[in-house]
Amino acid sequence: MRAKLIRSQEITHPDLMIMRGGVLDQEATLRARQVQMNLCASRQITWDEYKRRTSIRAQEGHIVDHPGAYYLVMMGAAEPYDDECRQKCGMTAPKIEAALIAGEKLHKAQLTGQRQHDAADGDAEKAHETRLERLDG
């Protein structure tokens, strides 16, 4: 099941995503992450190394192929990219669009630290760039 991200998001590093028979093995993927967490917790790798090994920042338009990809559509973070995702999310086009708008407002509000619907576009963009710079080092 595939969905297309509408904005940059932190996702699990592809190296940790273990596939079996063309399907993501979620338990094995989680275990792979925990191995890295243990290495970091015991100071065998640095926090920066842990982040590099476990996550990447996916850009807008990235296709998420995951059994739970429809959740991303429901929360206004992605558009359905195949029929399976479109059917599973159970939303009409106007509902998907409404979720995308609400998701974007919430995203900007979180970036600016302002209340959910108070985020001014200019502030949001500025905060977005500042935060990205900080997060991406």
Partner: protein, 138 residues
């Protein structure tokens, strides 16, 4: 030295391999961490103090969070789905300090409870056991 405010703290959950913010968060208690020990008190010990030795394990108490609950909001739906279909999940708290410090952990069992009161908004409590040891950034 710096004093950081809590406003802007974000609780995120892994949804479809994407770290997703739990909206309408009111408060969150990160998992506590404890290096565990046992009493190795013996009848023939010389000192009066209760002796303890490390087990070599680190344990964590559950994390808790409180949200204004929107039953139609996808990340809130995901929380109850993870209980109906039990699944371990990756979580993280991103703090609003300059370095955007984080605590990452994996939850095992989850508890979700809706809370309503006449003089309050509709809320939900989230609680989860920790699998393994959380990771804390500097």
């Amino acid at each position: 030295m710096a004093f950081s405010k809590c406003k802007g703290t974000v609780l995120q959950i892994d949804i479809a391999s994407t770290m997703t913010t739990i909206a309408q968060l009111i408060e969150v208690d990160a998992p506590s961490m404890q290096s565990t020990s046992f009493e190795n008190l013996t009848l023939d010990q010389a000192g009066v103090g209760v002796a303890r030795e490390l087990t070599g394990y680190t344990d964590s108490d559950p994390f808790t969070a409180m949200i204004f609950w929107d039953p139609a909001l996808a990340p809130h739906i995901k929380l109850s789905d993870d209980i109906a279909t039990p699944a371990k999940t990756t979580w993280q708290i991103v703090f609003p300090n300059t370095g955007a410090s984080e605590i990452d952990w994996v939850s095992a069992g989850l508890k979700f409870k809706a809370v309503t009161a006449a003089r309050d908004g509709m809320k939900a409590e989230i609680e989860g056991d920790i699998d393994g040891v959380p990771v804390v950034t500097a």
